[in-house]
Subunit: 707 residues, 2 copies
Amino acid sequence: MKQFFYPESIAVIGASEGTEKIGGKTLDAIISHGYEGRIYPIHPRHTHIGGLKAYPDVVSIEDKIDLAIIAIPAQLVCEAVRQCGQKAIPYVLVVSSGFNEAGAEGQALQAELLRVSKEVGVRVSGPNSEGLFTTRTKLAATFSPAINIEIGDLAAKRQIGIVSQSGGLGFGFYNRGRRDNLNFNHIVSVGNQVDLELSDYADYIIEQPETAVVMMYVESFANAKRFVELARRAAVLRKPIVIVKVGRSVAGGKAAASHTGALASPAKVVDAVLDACGVLRADDQGELLDIAAGLTNYALPKDDRVAVVSPSGGTAVWLTDALQAQGFELPTLDENSQSVLQTFIPSFGSTANPVDITAQTTVHGYSETLEVLAKADNIDAIILAASFAHEKRLISEGQRIAELSRSIGKPVLLYSYTLISEGSRARLRDLGLHCFTTIRGCVLALAAMRDYRNFLDKEKQPERVDWLPGPVQTKVKAVLKSYPGKVIAEFQAKQLMELYGIPIAQEAIATDPEHARQIAARIGYPVALKVHSADITHKTEAQVVQLGLPDDRSIEPAFRQILSRAKPYAPDAVIDGVLVQAMAKPGVEMMAGIVMDKQFGPMIMIGSGGIFAEVLEDTALAPAPLSLSESHSLIRRLKGNKLLDGVRGQPAADRNSLAQFLVRLSIMAVNLQNDLVEFDVNPVFVHPDGQGITIVDALGIRSTDEG
Amino acid sequence: MKQFFYPESIAVIGASEGTEKIGGKTLDAIISHGYEGRIYPIHPRHTHIGGLKAYPDVVSIEDKIDLAIIAIPAQLVCEAVRQCGQKAIPYVLVVSSGFNEAGAEGQALQAELLRVSKEVGVRVSGPNSEGLFTTRTKLAATFSPAINIEIGDLAAKRQIGIVSQSGGLGFGFYNRGRRDNLNFNHIVSVGNQVDLELSDYADYIIEQPETAVVMMYVESFANAKRFVELARRAAVLRKPIVIVKVGRSVAGGKAAASHTGALASPAKVVDAVLDACGVLRADDQGELLDIAAGLTNYALPKDDRVAVVSPSGGTAVWLTDALQAQGFELPTLDENSQSVLQTFIPSFGSTANPVDITAQTTVHGYSETLEVLAKADNIDAIILAASFAHEKRLISEGQRIAELSRSIGKPVLLYSYTLISEGSRARLRDLGLHCFTTIRGCVLALAAMRDYRNFLDKEKQPERVDWLPGPVQTKVKAVLKSYPGKVIAEFQAKQLMELYGIPIAQEAIATDPEHARQIAARIGYPVALKVHSADITHKTEAQVVQLGLPDDRSIEPAFRQILSRAKPYAPDAVIDGVLVQAMAKPGVEMMAGIVMDKQFGPMIMIGSGGIFAEVLEDTALAPAPLSLSESHSLIRRLKGNKLLDGVRGQPAADRNSLAQFLVRLSIMAVNLQNDLVEFDVNPVFVHPDGQGITIVDALGIRSTDEG
């Protein structure tokens, strides 16, 4: 992608004089920003455009061309790409609109564009892209109006790359971030992604030494698995990706057949995957930039203990609220630190934490306080609140604050509760200091830094999935074969689980009452009887379940009643018989499941059972496979997690068995990702600690490709 | 308060030359902002300060003085106030610090200040205030550095008042709001509120004709009931109050004795009261200003259907997500509207809603679209997204957009996805257009407008509490007298409820097994037996409850077992006997309660019962009394609300009986607000629709003032 991001020569197909048309706008931007490479305007008739020699087509150019920018009507684009192929131009950037976003005709054009580009061996960026901006070579190949601002520090060692599925927003992030002196290396608007897609650009950017953070705006993932690989590579490089993922409100495709499938919405799957691979999320433009600013400008805090320094008591209280809401602690400063602070903070201030230095403290109050906090062992991060409505404070001690911020090894975040005056902005820039302007943004930035540190800590000691099934493939295939329909009913679903080391209570399918009695006698009373049929998946609704049968005598009437109800409920159902199983011991009711996401692959869900599941949709989701500690974390994310600790005098439940079960279910999910689409384990009873779990019911939905 | 906000003459006690000291700073601010009244600097020695004649003390001034600003060391303030009394100055504003915020010594000074001010009849603002700014008379009686900005349109008909418990933040709101051309009439920093408090200032401001919105920053309410009255008055005037309430993280005072008391944290009480009186909340500075901007600049939307117009597809998707998350609808535009839009929007745009006018639409694209949306019956509010990184668009059609925004009777909110250039800002100001700069802020502003409209709609048709108890006072007093201890145990607690028309199942206290059998026979089996003692409030824990006793024979053993367990559990307990009651029919388990908030008075809580209460703290709270529709709304706010609709095949529960019960409980709460501090009704079983509720257990905690 080097020739795309750093072309030595470009052709602008559709260049025109003036800035009325997008071709003209784009050429004008390239020239006026001072692009360092060679520029060849292409125009069928003109000999000069924008003071440059123009060519009738790319083939006529004597020079080698790295990148052609195409800004001509959609119908003409394919032919232009063909010529680029002829000229052996490796990359084209199509800013023209009128493709997939423009009805059937446009879709046909986009399909043709893909075909032609493959045929002639040209990689295509766009179409319908707002372009590319590479700051180092001043390549402003875009018609975005938002980039006519000071370009920033091109030598900065920590820069931000932007890959955006919206040009308006992507260049808007740059526009906003520059005001806060964030430095950017590349901004790419990916357009319709006919060929090159999000991860192609981000892959290149993340490898650049000056890249510290990659910002992305994503509506949908063209290639989810490549994105996951990108995120893994970013984690290895310790370069965070901060993403805005929109389109949550878009309806979620086809209706799901299982409970798990219904609860695992596409938005929840994306959240789960991003969480698992350490991708940070933002929900607003300001938040995105604040998080990126935090990750670019500061070292990560070692722990979660924060000191707040403020001349305004109110600001200190508000920051405290916001920090505590995000899980930070504000420990009281030790006596020694406080006694030093007391030498220069007036008696109506506070030296505890928040440190209220008052509006009347010395002109060096911040830096003196910072020196104390640098040495305080119980402080990992510092927020300095100030008013930069004027630059007085930055003149009196900005230099010292900047030096200390760089040297003390703890992040020092500045926050101004008033607007930042132009004079203050200039001074902050000169001092290399970032300043947040909202409490929310400042605290969310610190929270993102903490989250990313936690993610890296976890990655440092990766816990491998420590359990592997034996050579079960043949047996699994046999079970699947024995039941060729779309639905895998309870008995076979449990057989599958058992092959993956999941404990299944003794049970069997009886074909007549006498058979049922024999099975029950073997299992031991009390027992439960249920109809077994792939065609009757809602057994409770169908009233084909009899629970707590106490003895021999109770079997036959129950057996007959079940069959007599099943017939009218589902006249065409194939009934295998009646499943006889032990009554489950009491326990906390949970549910679990597998859903094979079309984009992200096998996902594991755990949920609170019973009315919790019904009323609260209390579920947590993660990509499979899961390690044991990941399983435990997933369980802890449930609102109903407390139930497992034992409420209302109940004993604590067997968390470990539940977590082990999830690990094994997750391996089954990976192994059977081409065979299953959904798998419900519902309910699961989690017994008191040490007594394991009981899987009461299960149900699989097979992939139609297979079934 | 007129002389405070609009003094015709002021004395500045502690005036000094230069801006080193706060007295000097304040005098300088008053003079340099061009205060229109007469200014008298007070200084023990100087004859002139800041070019004005100075006086040794206020008594020496010949003129009448409306307001004295005091900026001298704390120890000297009381004497100065005494002199102000002598001079019959009605108001003093003490900016000096060193009072309650400065340890025991400061607290003594503040107590003395209160005493002196009462004695000499002077009303005190502050101390420890950052001052007052009245824009119309340019009275900048503050040392805040944040006000040296263009003052705004003093003739504007819709202005914002700021009353802030933090000067830094209060003047910071002004500082930030002015950049967006919000107009302010008064900014008050209330300081330590030794005398004048939040509501005194807000009361005055809300009555001013130009005031459209009052913004408040509050750490704690000095006088909660006056604040509620203020909010009621604001509702009558249709002038919204937008509040930032911090201090949520502050620990909540003494431990509560009942479940209700434990669940009703001070922060939840404040939320409940603010909700009930239509006070809008903000959690960030930007959010506060955006909400105020929405309420100041636009008519309230008639319904919740929004159209989004954007040249950037990404911005449209993001806005759609954010709007839907806030409960707004984006209906598809009708065919007629769409066909007009198609005449000027390119084919690669969209005319459905969001309307994507594309970056290439005509120079009048926004106003042409607005004209269509003005007539669209299914649209109540419009968001126009644009980039104002340059002013081109505002030049081409800003005038028309401004005219349409004023004339079409629907709010038209502008949002820029890039920063707003200085040129655009100037133009927006000239056009009288506000522009939001974050998606969150724009959508939250619209949501606040919707919420306020809903509140006003509700206020328009106030539903009076339609039930009043008979002449129960004597009977109530008798019940309370019969049980003089701190705890009111179940039987008496239920007697109280019965007096307030709440249905209580037949039950009685038995003193021996034979008595219990007689009661049980009267009630009908099965029955429950429980120990009855004000000293044993956790009956289940003490294992002194026997449920589902089927017949005559089962009474005696149960009776004896209960007593045998009660004795060792609580050896000193006074045991009244054993309560015999009917077993409750099944139903949805809920809990309810009363808590008498020290500040806000009687509050009613409703909660999901059982493990929902335990694990989720799923409760909703509102000030008493409640009307029937308020009760219904309160119930609907529970996460477990769905349980009442009937889940898992259960029938719908008797919501109406539950709501009726809450109404009556709320009247009891109001009547007994001086007798009770907490009251638990837990559990309450809500039976299927039409079958009422059963109150299974109850417990009261009496006010110690009475008990």
